[in-house]
């Protein structure tokens, strides 16, 4: 055995993240409690370094570890998104954890381990590696969800997430084992070759495909595998919820797309209809159930389900058997674009929820936002921008994201799907704008007596400013990001 130096060089970002995670865990006991925030800044610094390395390697396609890892522009794009979201999560946690009185160094170690799992997922070219990456991501998230250990709600969220997460992983692994039986290997390339030779009628192949849909369906939270989402999002600490809603969803989408387009691309005509049904069901359920929610975190959870539905429109386009490769590439790039836009606006919304917690409010019921514009005009303005963006109103990022997804659908001849999605967007405007209305149109309840001052920390300001800038700048000048996603799509064969 020789040390695979070239392979190690290829995965330097992953190594940095894992090493810094270990470093944080080692340094934590010897850091005085009042200095725990140093660990957070160390983590952010490592992410900045990784960002630089990944940017410098964006154009090359390298395989490593006997083709188990593939470092292509597609993986690079997702990694950049994940670095940004993780850095924002850490900065948000700096202020939030202190208020919740759970500021422990292990938190940052677990966030980084989770990120390492996500990075493995997005650049894995082998089903078993994807499975291990998913497990590494999920395991850290189970613990993070239960981080408020003295609060029953948080532990229940953790338990629920754990049971359903390992259930879905078990289903995923069984599907992988059947694919191993069909192809004799778990490499995506070998599976694609086996699909080519066995044809579409091998029942084991179809069954394995359904199991993979179920397994990934849980991870990206689409109907009918969404039922854990509202409870887990509500119970977890808000900073962790934001991380789950954005980073874990993006990484799962990335792995899911690679598996279905590269590995099972030959089965397109089988999974296309399945995804179409899931997509429409997700759009309808997410948007309709969000209307009746009174807790803002639950509402955002249903909103994140609905947004997974919008992203699935792009997946459906990318999986169209009849369409040419250009149309399908447009579908894929629209998913990548949509999830980047979704990341900024959803993260921003959760950050405002976390900020209000800091302001001394409970801040989790929509009623708590009553008259916020009078009490904290700046927070209300930020929330207004994020809600408007989530509703898909120009000139925000949410509008551009939806525009590209709908354009891809129309371009692929799925006009009816685009029309359904637009109608449901109108429905979604109701519940997003209700929050705005509560903030701006109602007088604050004087009996509540909560005249809290907005106490900001530099980290929190940075998070809110980045999310705000992301939503506005990507809304006004989407072209650079569009060209990046277009050049980073998976090659279609």
């Amino acid at each position: 055995m020789t040390l695979p130096l070239g392979d190690l060089v290829a995965i330097i970002p992953e190594l940095i993240v894992a090493t810094v995670a270990c470093l944080v865990l080692v340094l934590d006991p010897i850091t005085p409690p009042s200095r725990t925030h140093w660990l957070a800044w160390l983590s952010v610094a490592s992410l900045v370094a990784c960002f630089g390395i990944t940017v410098s390697r964006m154009d090359a396609t390298v395989t490593a570890f006997s083709d188990l890892m593939i470092l292509d522009p597609y993986a690079g794009y997702w990694k950049l998104l994940l670095y940004v979201v993780t850095a924002l999560t850490i900065l948000l946690s700096l202020a939030y954890l202190r208020v919740e009185r759970i500021h422990l160094g292990e938190y940052y170690g677990l966030i980084l381990l989770s990120l390492a799992g996500m990075m493995i997922m997005v650049s894995a070219a082998d089903l078993l590696v994807i499975y291990l990456g998913t497990e590494l991501m999920s395991l850290s998230l189970y613990v993070l969800a239960g981080f408020k250990r003295f609060e029953v709600r948080s532990l229940e969220a953790s338990a629920k997430y754990f049971v359903l997460g390992s259930f879905s992983s078990g289903i995923l692994l069984y599907g992988i084992s059947l694919l191993f039986g069909v192809a004799g290997s778990t490499r995506l390339s070998a599976i694609a070759a086996a699909v080519g030779t066995h044809g579409l009628d091998d029942p084991a192949l179809l069954f394995a495909m359904i199991l993979l849909v179920v397994g990934f369906g849980f991870k990206i939270a689409v109907v009918p595998f969404h039922m854990w989402t509202p409870d887990v999002y509500e119970g977890s600490p808000t900073s962790v919820t934001a991380f789950m809603a954005v980073a874990s969803k993006a990484a799962s989408f990335a792995a899911f797309l690679r598996v279905f387009l590269e590995g099972l691309g030959g089965l397109r005509e089988k999974w296309y209809a399945l995804f179409l049904v899931i997509c429409v069901a997700t759009l309808i359920l997410g948007n309709v159930v969000a209307i009746v929610q009174t807790n803002i975190k639950r509402m955002l959870a249903y909103s994140s389900i609905a947004h997974a539905g919008y992203a699935l429109i792009g997946v459906v386009v990318a999986g169209q058997a009849a369409a040419d490769n250009e149309t399908r590439a447009l579908g894929l790039s629209s998913v990548m674009l949509y999830l980047a836009m979704y990341a900024f606006m959803t993260f921003g919304a959760f950050a405002v929820v976390a900020l209000l917690r800091k302001g001394g409010l409970e801040g989790e019921e929509i009623e708590d936002f009553t008259g916020l514009a009078k009490r904290q005009p700046l927070a209300a303005l930020l929330m207004l921008v994020f809600m408007v963006s989530l509703a898909g109103i120009p000139p925000t990022a949410g509008f551009i994201g939806k525009l590209y997804v709908f354009m891809a659908a129309v371009n692929a001849g799925l006009t009816w799907l685009a029309v359904v999605a637009v109608l449901l967007t109108a429905v979604s405007a109701y519940y997003y704008l209700r929050v705005v209305m509560v903030m701006y149109m109602r007088e604050p309840d004087p009996s509540a007596g909560l005249v809290s001052r907005l106490t900001t920390s530099p980290a929190l300001t940075l998070v809110l400013a980045s999310a705000f800038a992301g939503v506005i700048l990507l809304g006004l000048f989407p072209d650079p990001l569009v060209s990046i996603t277009t050049s980073a799509v998976l090659p279609f064969k």
Partner: protein
């Protein structure tokens, strides 16, 4: 002899699996799972996987099930009057249907994966553990490394959750 052992191991495995799910007392469920694991280990022996046979007994039966039983006894749960979910009948019917489909699938699909380079004779010459070791540290080194990081995460996670919950007060910067 192999068919006889196969029938024994597989029938007991299925029976123990059903008992794991169906018995009312959680400790009995744990013991049924132990039976299943030992018989699955027997199947591994039939399939010339002696390394996994040992691992299955040491890690699964010896560590995982013991951990489960330990927690069950620690919590000292009483057997509930109602063990099953209230919609269990619907689920059972659906499961039976899926099971039928699965069996059909197993019978009808060819499962012609590509042949590897490890025929039984070659593996038996050096032993399965040798072959597995060589494969892990050459072709599947990456997975091995990921699993290492994974174990670290599990240790940290379990410690974080098991510590006595105390609020950490930090004075602002």
């Amino acid at each position: 002899m192999v068919p006889v052992f196969f029938s024994y191991f597989s029938l007991v495995s299925i029976l123990a699996g059903v008992l794991t799910v169906a018995l009312p007392n959680p400790v009995h469920c744990g013991l049924a799972l132990l039976t299943l694991l030992l018989h699955v280990a027997g199947l591994f022996l039939l399939l010339n996987a002696e390394f996994l046979f040992v691992i299955q007994i040491i890690v699964y039966a010896g560590a995982i099930v013991v951990l489960y039983l330990f927690v069950l006894m620690l919590l000292n749960l009483k057997t509930d009057e109602r063990v099953l979910h209230h919609r269990y009948a619907v689920i059972l019917v659906a499961a039976a249907a899926i099971c039928g489909g699965l069996l059909l699938m197993a019978l009808r699909s060819p499962f012609q994966g590509a042949k590897g380079h490890a025929p039984v004779e070659a593996v038996l010459q050096d032993g399965g553990s040798y072959a597995i070791g060589i494969t892990i540290f050459n072709e599947y080194l990456l997975q091995f490394e990921i699993v290492g990081v994974f174990l670290l995460g599990a240790i940290i996670g379990a410690i974080v959750l098991a510590k006595t919950p105390t609020a950490v007060d930090v004075e602002p910067e």
